[in-house]
Amino acid sequence: MSHHLDDLESRSLYIIREAYARINPLGMLWSIGKDSTAMLWLVRKAFFGRVPFPLILLDTGMEMDEVYAFRDKLAKDWDLDVINHLCPPEEEMDQTLPPATRSAMRKTEGLKTLLAEHQFKGILCGIRRDEQGLRAKERVFSPRSLDGSWDFKDQPPEFWDQYKTEFPEGCHVRVHPILHWTELDIWRYTQKENIPLCDLYFARDGMRYRSLGEKNITKPVPSDADTIEKIIHELETTNTSERAGRSMDKETEDSFEKLRSQGYM
């Protein structure tokens, strides 16, 4: 098992160092969840304890209180450079979108204003292929046009660990260092490396969060798993979707595709 995790880790370190060698300036989205916190751990491994670029929280003001508290604690403990970037309000979103999709759109728009403000050429983002069908089709280095949109019908070829790293002025690239990990891999790695986590993942009163989103569009799922061991055991035996608690994915057949093609993570 640990051999398997070592392989995943080595591949992620390679991708992170490739991004750092090729793309400048670089930033990393840190949603404070388990995936991007594991990714942050990998970044620190890649640079022997350092984090040579800023971390970004796309803040809608709607994250759960525990999430903000965890951000502040880790930022202090690990001496992190965190940009807390406020997303535009929901009133400014396309009002024809279903409510949860509209709410998620705020992050997309927040990312656009962040890029305009900081001129990042590359953004590290902790999505995984096993989360969702569209994310399964992603590239490790995924170029975005000027308006941040994802041209999923014409993605660049990507093979033999050689990535697309050159872009016209104004474009940026999303780099996905943990694209090849599964939810279980993340949990096993978190356990092995003893990576700190937000309490909300652990069951309280028969409920726990399997995926952390904003208050208004994320719900806890029934579970008694109150330790990492129990969570791993639970996941080994379940067939429910990780994003079952995320309402924006399912409002219409293509709501997640609409979000992603316009720049959502």
């Binding site: 051999h3 080595s10 640079f47 022997f48 984090v51 292929r129 093979f159 050689q162 697309k164 016209p168």
Partner: protein, 635 residues
């Protein structure tokens, strides 16, 4: 979900469009109980809403466009498991238009399933995909003869299609480990056997997959550790990268190519705990420290001294082409091998291969999109290379043009010799002294790095004029710069040489060596020689590749002849001087100069500024730090 912790086998499903790849995968997930709860119901309702029969392919074809057109556009990966192990299934589009996506998927696979419609048999993309598998180095292949229901489960038809497949695979050097009759939509011969095909006694698809091996890291091959980056913090310098093949130990003497520098591994670094780790093997991303502060940068390759990679600036490759713009003889591209990136030009397209009838065309002029060919590439700089036969990890290249990946292929070094030997000195009793003063230490002392800025151009193009002006400007800014001028050198060091092609070559060789010594001493060298032959300039670059910059001082012959500052053109025209460059001796303009200054179009001051800016960008310590992206030390 899975409860197995072992590694996953990556298997790619390829084949002609509409032969049922996505359906096969959807059904496979269903039959192995790998679909999420509710997924089947989701798809049932989506299909009902769209008024189409139930489609297993919707599991993978997640894009609206894919569902609308019932065709897979991009490759996708999905996890599933059998009783024996975990898998990553890679779905690859079958449509010709999406070959780049097929390759992106298939390049990551340990094994492949080639899906062939029992009714239609082998089609265009069946052949093309099989050929790509061959080019991607795939060895483990199963053929699924699908849609047996369409041919009434007829064993004769199965036999015919099997033979057709096997014959094509064999003709390109591949072998099908299994050929399995199947009706994927109904699940026949996927996980379960089938009543309708009791005549088939071989393995089911799942059994076939379970018998394939996961590609293991190439630990038994010679060590190749391509440098990905160099991090400096505090007093430490860490070389990072991934061990691609072989094993590296603390205490090993590493030999770096193409610089021929040596140093001993003093540690393998780790975080968060300090560890006493002493080995790293193929597949592992590591950071090491060295005993000597030798010059190392991204792209250099570390190996053991008895198993060095070949050094060459010319090689052959079997490539596939993915760009709308055809590859043409004479075009230049960027090629990446491991962490190295070099400019290459296409010297020849030796053989163009028709993937359908395997017909061959010699000495073609171009390679169009989705075609495959054997080509010869030439680079400006000498570089470490492994052929694919010798090293399946590093013997591959990916070709870039402008912003895009435009092709890729496998390197074949069988036709070209190792140039490392020809660079060695004649006498065996010469040992290079290794300096204890490093380039960084010299730079810290002088305020800048050394460098060679090699001006080349016709007589009268303005090399000497520009060199003298640039020297003065940079010297006045407090930097140590020195001009090596053609006429001056010929009065002393090279007074024994004339103007025959041999003497011109020797002249430039000596100047190149002198420039290299000066640059190593931390001096900014500006050389102003016609240096008409590309091969000579390339050799000057090889004397100190880390310092060398080729600057083309461009002016057409007419302009230069009109200027004629030394009256030489007049003498050449009258026959008073023989072998004068541009008149009766050739001038080869640089293929890929680092900088071009056009003295026919711009005035002297503009050209001087252009060169001064370029030099400063390349020798200043701060500028080097920026381009190398040194680690910012956090508060």
């Amino acid at each position: 979900m899975s409860n197995k912790n072992a590694q996953k086998l990556n298997v790619v499903i390829v084949g002609h469009v509409d032969h049922g790849k996505s359906t096969l995968i959807g059904r496979l997930l269903h039959d192995t109980n790998s679909l999420e709860d509710g997924k089947l119901e989701d798809i049932k309702s989506v299909c009902a809403r769209r008024g189409v029969p139930f489609e297993y392919s919707f599991v993978l074809d997640a894009f609206q466009a894919e569902r609308d057109q019932a065709v897979t556009i991009d490759t996708t990966q999905i996890f599933f498991s059998t009783d024996n192990r975990d898998y990553v299934i890679i779905d690859a589009p079958g449509h010709r238009e999406f070959l780049k996506n097929m390759i992106s998927g298939a390049a990551q696979a340990d094994a492949a399933v080639l899906v062939v419609d029992a009714d239609e048999g082998v089609k265009e993309q069946t052949r093309r995909h099989a050929y790509m598998l061959h080019l991607l180095g795939m060895k483990q292949i199963a053929v699924a003869v699908n849609k047996m229901d369409k041919v009434g489960y007829d064993p004769k038809r199965f036999d015919a299609v099997s033979k057709e497949c096997a014959a094509y695979l064999q003709s390109i050097g591949l072998q099908a480990h299994f050929i399995i009759p199947m009706a994927a939509r109904d699940g026949d011969m996927l996980a379960a056997r089938s009543d309708k095909m009791q005549w088939y006694k071989g393995k089911t698809l799942i059994e076939a997959l379970d018998s394939f091996d996961i590609s293991s890291p190439l630990v038994s091959k010679p060590l190749r550790f391509p440098i990905q980056d160099v991090y400096r913090f505090e007093e430490k310098r860490i070389l990072v990268g991934r061990v691609e093949t072989g094993v590296l130990h603390v205490g090993d003497t590493l030999f770096f190519s193409p610089t021929n520098e040596k140093a001993v591994v003093t540690s393998i670094e780790s975080w968060p705990q300090k560890s006493d780790r002493v080995t790293a093997s193929a597949g592992q991303s590591i950071g090491i420290t060295l005993s000597e502060p030798i010059f190392v940068e991204r792209g250099h390759v570390a190996s053991h001294e008895d198993t060095l990679p070949v050094l060459s600036n010319v090689f052959q490759a079997n490539i596939f082409w993915l760009s709308e713009k055809p590859m043409k003889v004479g075009n230049t591209y960027r090629a990446r091998f491991g962490t190295n990136e070099v400019r290459v030009s296409v010297q020849s397209i030796d053989t163009l291969v028709d993937t359908q009838d395997l017909g061959k065309e010699e000495n073609a002029a171009q390679v169009v999109k989705n075609a495959v060919a054997q080509i010869t590439l030439r680079s400006r700089a000498i570089m470490p290379i492994d052929g694919y036969v010798e090293n399946t990890k590093l013997g591959r290249l990916v070709i870039y043009e402008d912003y895009d990946v435009v092709g890729g292929g496998l390197i074949d070094m069988s036709a070209y010799p190792d140039q490392r030997k020809s660079n060695n000195p004649k006498s065996k009793n010469i040992y290079k002294v290794s300096h204890s003063v490093t380039p960084d230490m010299r730079a810290a002392m002088f305020g800048h790095y050394g460098g060679i800025f090699w001006l080349t151009g016709l007589s009268g193009s303005g090399k000497s004029t520009l060199a003298i002006e640039v020297e003065r400007t940079i010297f006045e800014r407090g930097k140590n710069i020195y001009v090596l001028d053609g006429d001056n050198v010929r009065h002393g060091l090279n007074s024994d040489l004339g103007f025959s092609p041999e003497d011109r070559t020797e002249n430039i060789r000596r100047v190149g060596e002198v420039a290299a010594l000066q640059a190593n001493a931390g001096i900014i060298v500006l050389s102003a020689f016609i240096s008409p032959y590309q091969a000579d300039r390339d050799r000057a670059r090889r004397a100190a590749p880390q310092h060398f910059h080729e600057i083309y001082v461009k002016a057409d012959l007419k302009t230069c002849e009109a200027r004629d500052p030394k009256g030489l053109y007049k003498k050449a025209r009258s026959g008073e001087i023989k072998e004068f460059t541009g008149i009766d001796s050739p001038y080869e303009p640089p293929h890929n100069p680092d900088l071009v200054v056009d003295t026919a179009k711009n005035d002297v001051q503009t050209c001087v500024t252009q060169i001064v800016d370029y030099i400063e960008m390349n020798v200043l310590i701060d500028a080097q730090k920026q381009t190398k992206g040194n680690l910012r030390v956090l508060k």
